[in-house]
Symmetry: C2
Subunit: 599 residues, 2 copies
């Protein structure tokens, strides 16, 4: 008996009534899922968070309750008293956990009437997402939606319990804070008390968690809202939640080991899945070369192979010139793709890689009749044979080749690989392939700003042995950074931080900051580092994404109670809204008329 | 052995080493609290989160480590290997948990050097709070400050465990949302995507949690940041944290009972205090009449007594005219105040009540020689005797009387009561007097707006039996609201909500809203209520205040890792700051020049 849910208005929850209750009186409250009138009896499916149970009202059972029952409609909220009885064998509903019993209704009180809801409270109702978001309170009544929020609750509870047991302190960091230097676009909040100045909403508690290490907190975590004012992609929201942590006196191994335990626990307890211990690791370099991605989906092969050496002397200039100019030639063997894809489908793949900036997609079809390929005539037999051999290609296979600048080759083939898995309908269900990707590049060159920028953030520590290269070839310096990837999705990432002021200043130098600029932007952290800083590092997981993976959805809005649409609107509350004039005046800000024309 | 804190850089934590470790090798990391050179030996107090342990370095122990030890200074971060040894009896330091042992240092690595910190890392260092806030990371190193954050962590963990065990789901509600109608001042966040429009930061998740009940979540909680753009009082911050909850199918008793268990658990586990079960209750009316406050401090008596009946016919016109005009005459017997207070101190009390709008303070001093009072000559002997009797006054006591409008009498005497407790040095230490205050007025008349406003919020349910008075005498309608008070501080408050659309509309009518206005402001909630709403209610606790009470501090900034000052600044990060011009342009907002003169 689920004692804890007992209140003055119920003795039990609907979903927990079983055959061992037969003969007992129960008091239940809930929503009317369905009413059927049948042979002088009224059957009602009563729903609460725990499930559905069938009520029966009849003149013979209780006339008053029967009369009331005859007035109720779907989604009415009612309170009933009744007696649990077993169903006749032919009436048993095996689909319901409560399907062996029903409740003879002695009393019925209508707690709240309901108009006909604009959407059906059914898992599979086909309603546009905008309507679902407008009537979010109805959409959330669907067991499927409720279940996602329940899993979110349970998963965060497991995380908190685990981190607490491992000596982490949950410490709140400010929401009204300073703009993030070197970050994405901040949300700004005008200050009334200091007119003309602004707070920024945090993109992450990065600086604060490092400060907490300087403060001697030793182990910090927080499950915390973060904010980025970006144009939304499918899996992004303006506000999102991070599982954020930081540890002192640790190296990569300490952090990886602890987080493997954490993630194992979550997947074990929520999905009953045992995760390999330890989780596989791969360097960034290997991930790019084999999968064209720093978050490879390991549920299928379709690995990239390097053809550069084979074709660098080729008469086919597209290949050899590319190589001469420092490019790569790499390919994927789409197993059985030759048999399965039409010429039109192959052309579509060519268009697909162009969206990732590749100039084109060469293909070689291995048929029963031999090689078919528009480029075959440009390649020597030796070259063709070596390609087929390198690609392990058999009859029925399709070799797909991209020759371009290395990053474009990786991107295009990495994305093509995912596309092929879909098109070839490779089985990806119920597989959970975890992977640590390590040794990320510390820096990337920003073509727009014409300078190096930090790939993670400016506090990420370079690998010890690469430090000398900071001055000679920064692009080759690897970071003490690690990402945890699941099925091609980045679950989280982190790094060991720089805890040495001198190394930090050198890093700022590489990023093109003068000492003054560095101090202007990160002064308080640099100041803090002067007074005794423990070696430290951390990691942050995207909670929304984690829950998406745990609940098997690719819609981030399904795992957030009140999400926003692509244009940053909440369709239920209609936020954002026009502000009152008084408030604007108090804040000392105005709407720029010139900008309003964009509206 | 605290296994969980083991990392690659330590086998144990400093504070856990005891006599049973003697002879063992340990690896420790931490901050140098103190270094003393003595007879060719160097003693170092090494500190981490868990405590302090003494290290000993000597040429005889390890020369290299000794040489390094001789270079280190306070707040250096070091890593050491050494052997635990027992101290000579005369060397034992009983003040330290680790005071029976010390560690002979075999190896020493300096992990981070430290400049001389601008504040001492000592609990009682006398430094201005502004310096402490600027160097927050140093201030937080003090065991006393660390301990407050650790208690905060533990208390929230206890709350989460309890609510989880009682079927509550933690569900996140948006931070970027709509302005709060009928609330305090909102923080606004300009939308870039919808230029000219604004989000507001939530003052509480009130509407969302009610929506979650409509959505069938049944039990919701959240430990959540809330925001109010108000001028700061001592115990306020622009962002603060609430323990927020809501339950369906409940009445007041269900909520009070559950929260008594919750609060008991927190105080039991953190302070080892057993709270009375059930907690005492008092109606708002009784609290005002006896203590002049809706959050009475029950650690001392000094109750208000009513003299209205005694003096309503008095020749002393100050009293009788006040009564004639609907005012009250009430008094406090400041026990032994006659003996203890000088004439000047009594005059100061008169000034004190004037700050609460009372016109004056009459006093009667009961001395060995009889009654001394400036008003004695205006009162008859019978009146005087009745007053003394009503006040239970004895020789040495001081009767303090206020005659004024009822609310002023309550306020002035309520505050005077607290002031007297301080002046009379009544013992208030180590007492925890909990109290539920119930049956609050539903409405209060707003003199500025010339209309009734909701005392809690517009969704608070009136008491069933008072509903008819909504139309006849709204000021007398009591709410199904309850506050939990501890030692004169409001820990939390809540109510049963209106779940009936008709009653809700009637309520809006009393508040002077047209149907259109009500829908404009609360439309989505009113819409939601149309589709089946369970009876529901909730409560919210101020987490910061709770932690203040648990850690015995009256400075809210001491229980928040990174608090703001009275002018809404973070002295460490220097937020808020001037925004970049580009960002302002993107947002389509500008600083109003006319307003800048206020700067």
């Amino acid at each position: 008996m689920d004692k804890k849910m007992e209140t003055s208005k119920r003795s039990h929850t609907c979903g927990e009534i079983r055959e061992n209750f037969i003969g007992k009186k129960v008091v239940l409250s809930g929503w009317v899922q369905k009413r059927r009138d049948l042979g002088g009896l009224i059957f009602i499916d009563l729903r609460d968070r725990s499930g559905v149970v069938q009520l029966v009202f009849g003149k013979e059972i209780n006339e008053q309750a029967f009369e009331k029952a005859s007035t109720i409609r779907n989604e009415y909220v009612i309170n009933i008293k009744g007696t649990v009885t077993g169903r006749q064998p032919e009436q048993v509903n095996e689909k319901l956990k409560t399907g062996h019993i029903e409740i003879m209704g002695d009393e019925l009180e209508i707690l709240s009437k309901a108009e006909t809801p604009p959407i059906y409270i059914e898992n599979e109702s086909k309603v546009s997402e905008n309507i679902r978001l407008k009537y979010r309170y109805l959409d959330l009544r669907k067991p499927k939606m409720l279940n996602k929020l329940m899993i979110r609750h349970r998963a965060t509870k497991i995380v908190r319990d685990f981190l607490d047991a491992n000596g982490f302190l949950e410490i709140e960091t400010p929401i009204l804070t300073k703009p993030t230097p070197e970050g994405a676009r901040d949300y700004l909040v005008p200050s009334r008390v200091q007119k003309g100045k602004f707070f920024a909403l945090p993109q992450s508690p990065q600086l604060f968690k490092q400060i907490l290490m300087v403060a001697g907190m030793d182990r910090y975590f927080q499950i915390v809202k973060c904010f980025r004012d970006e144009d939304l992609r499918a899996d992004r929201q303006p506000e999102f939640t991070q599982i954020d942590m930081e540890m002192s006196f640790v190296n990569e191994e300490d952090i990886i080991k602890l987080n493997e335990e954490l993630i194992s626990k979550v997947f074990e307890e929520i999905l009953g899945i045992t995760i390999p211990n330890p989780i596989e690791r791969m360097t960034y370099q290997e991930a790019m070369e084999r999968f064209g991605s720093d978050k490879p989906d390991l549920r299928f092969a379709l690995e990239l192979k390097d053809l550069t050496e084979i074709v660098n002397q080729s008469d086919f200039k597209v290949f050899s010139t590319t190589v001469k100019n420092g490019g790569h030639v790499r390919a994927i063997n789409a197993k059985e793709g030759g048999k399965k894809f039409s010429r039109r489908e192959i052309d579509a793949l060519g268009e697909f890689v162009k969206t990732y900036k590749a100039k084109g997609l060469a293909w070689i079809n291995i048929t029963e009749e031999g090689i078919k390929s528009p480029i075959a005539k440009f390649l020597s037999d030796i070259e063709l044979n070596n390609i087929v051999k390198q690609m392990d290609a058999e009859v029925g296979d399709l070799i797909l080749i991209v020759a371009d600048k290395p990053q474009i080759v990786y991107d295009a083939l990495g994305q093509l690989r995912l596309e092929l898995a879909k098109k070839l309908q490779l089985n990806r269900d119920n597989q959970y392939k975890f992977l640590w990707v390590t040794e990320f590049p510390l820096l990337e060159f920003d073509e727009e700003e014409k300078r190096f920028v930090a790939k993670h953030h400016p506090f990420t520590s370079p690998m010890e042995e690469d430090i000398p290269m900071l001055e000679t070839s920064p692009e080759n310096v690897r970071a003490r950074a690690y990402d945890l990837v699941l099925n091609g999705v980045e679950l989280g990432g982190g790094s060991i931080r720089i805890h040495d002021s001198q190394l930090q200043e050198k890093m700022f130098g590489v990023l093109g900051f003068s000492t003054e600029q560095a101090w202007e932007q990160f002064g308080f952290l640099l100041e803090a580092f002067k007074y005794g800083t423990p070696p430290h590092g951390g990691i942050a997981f995207g909670l929304d994404r984690l829950i998406m993976l745990l609940t098997n959805t690719d819609n981030i809005r399904d795992v957030i109670a009140f999400p926003k649409t692509q244009n940053h609107s909440c369709l239920m509350t209609e936020a954002p809204t026009i502000a009152e004039k008084d408030r604007m005046e108090e804040l000392g800000i105005g709407i720029e008329k010139t900008r309003n024309k964009d509206e």
